[in-house]
């Protein structure tokens, strides 16, 4: 199964890649890992007229800490994140659950985030951790977009036609923190039946200073459970509190009956996963 014909450019710099993208507009796509884009092209769900391959661009493959943030570049593969000592919390927890080992060797975090597949795992993790997307345009035009504003709708992000995702920035809390991603999948490589990401930061007195909870595959897009987050902040971590937050998350979920299970059952999985993810996050933060 071949994709439809397209022009191909192997860019050797970010400037060159963005110039090629700007020239081609909406019909031009960046190619990083290609693990979602190429299958979509083979099935004719996507028929770009030009691909700008960014794999040859230097210095986009770094994971590093800088100014209280974790920076993950556009060519960092899921497998790199899973193997990195720099990552922790929900990011580290989610990485081994992305697709399968072969896809993880090529697919990238930035590509997944830009793809905005509502059943993708990463955007829930980024919503829970309060990440930002760095969008690079022509010349020195660069902006950071909160992940909540970046994800517009399913398969729709807020990038302009001449912008490229250069990196994802994830805050690294200065105080005690923890995070977890809980995912139920029928088999390795399948989409999540249900996924829940949780992130907690604790104050000096042990109460919850900040909380993030977001869900995969139970709404039209990755959804933050804002009521659950509000319940958590200011309180001391406890099983009762996390159970209550789980119920709030379940109420905020909007799952559908499908081949992976009934909506009613998925809601119960959201409640259980939220509780488990929060318990794991608190345990890390208290360690």
């Amino acid at each position: 199964m071949l994709p439809a014909r397209f022009d191909y450019i192997a860019a050797s710099s970010v400037e060159e890649a963005i110039a090629a993208k700007a020239e081609g507009g909406d019909e031009t796509r960046f190619l990083a890992g290609g693990q979602s884009l190429l299958p979509m092209m083979k099935l004719r769900f996507a028929t770009p007229s030009k691909l700008v391959d960014i794999n040859g661009i230097a210095r986009l493959d770094a994971i590093r800490r800088h100014n209280g943030q974790l920076h993950i570049g556009a060519l960092v593969r899921h497998a790199d994140i899973a193997a990195s000592d720099e990552v922790s919390g929900a990011i580290a927890s989610a990485a081994p659950w992305i697709s399968d080992p072969l896809v993880r060797n090529l697919g990238t975090l930035c590509g997944s985030v830009a793809h905005c597949d509502p059943e993708g795992d990463w955007n829930s993790v980024l919503l829970a951790t309060g990440a930002e997307v760095v969008a690079q345009g022509p010349s020195d035009r660069r902006r950071t977009i909160d992940i909540g504003d970046f994800v517009q709708d399913f398969f729709t992000n807020s990038l302009a036609d001449d912008e490229m995702v250069l990196a994802i920035h994830i805050p690294v809390p200065s105080g005690p923190s923890g995070g977890s991603y809980q995912k139920l999948e029928r088999k390795v490589g399948d989409y999540a039946t249900v996924g829940v990401a949780a992130h907690l930061e604790l104050a000096a007195d042990g109460t919850i200073a900040a909380a993030g909870v977001a869900m995969t595959s139970v709404a039209p897009i990755n959804r933050k459970a804002t009521e659950a987050e509000a319940l958590l902040v200011g309180n001391a971590p406890s099983t009762e509190l996390f159970t209550e937050a789980g119920e709030a998350a379940a109420a905020a979920a909007d799952p559908r009956d499908d081949v992976r299970g009934s909506a009613r059952w998925k809601r119960r999985v959201v409640a259980a996963f939220t509780q488990r993810a929060l318990a794991a996050a608190a345990e890390q933060a208290q360690a």
Binding site: R5, Y8, A10, D100, P101
Partner: protein, 158 residues
């Protein structure tokens, strides 16, 4: 577009369309049919090859993306001394039934052992979790990869 890929140790230059998939280039262009096409939708893993030593699905990579890189297919596993330990172990442990997934399973096994010379059963199972065996012969595949790891490390010790 002209590309040169080092396949199993020899440079292979060809003029290809950008849309040509690496798996088709390996099978049709280079004539190496040990790399199979199964689902063709990034699900089954039978098209696995090593690109610069890393296992990837060659149905989900363009041939042009492999320009200037090294590709190892099942045909490249054997060494001057004969079969690769993984190949010998698949034979000894009956790690195959129909054989369709076998080239991919052996390449993933070889890459795993390279990275982790003494994997646990769990680690082997996770490593092959992107590769389907529709004969469901997983038990002997895991046994074979374990046997290969043991043989490779005892060779290394001697």
């Amino acid at each position: 577009m002209e590309i040169t890929i080092n396949i199993n140790g020899s440079d292979h230059t060809a003029d290809v369309e950008p849309r040509l998939l690496l798996v088709d280039h390996i099978r049709t262009g280079a004539g190496l049919t040990g790399t199979h096409i199964g689902c063709d939708t990034t699900s089954c893993g039978v098209c696995t090859v090593l690109v610069d030593g890393t296992p990837v699905k060659s149905c989900t990579m363009l041939a042009v993306q492999a320009d200037g890189r090294s590709v190892t297919t099942v045909e490249g596993l054997k060494t001057a001394d004969g079969l690769h330990p993984v190949q010998q172990a698949f034979s000894d442990e009956h790690g195959l039934q129909c054989g369709f997934c076998t080239p991919a399973m052996m390449l993933v096994g070889a890459a795993l052992i390279e990275d982790n010379p003494d994997p646990s059963d769990d680690e082997v199972r996770w490593a092959i979790s992107g590769n389907l065996c529709r004969c469901t012969g997983y038990m002997n595949i895991v046994k074979a990869i374990q046997a290969a790891a043991a043989a490779a490390s005892s060779n290394g010790d001697s």
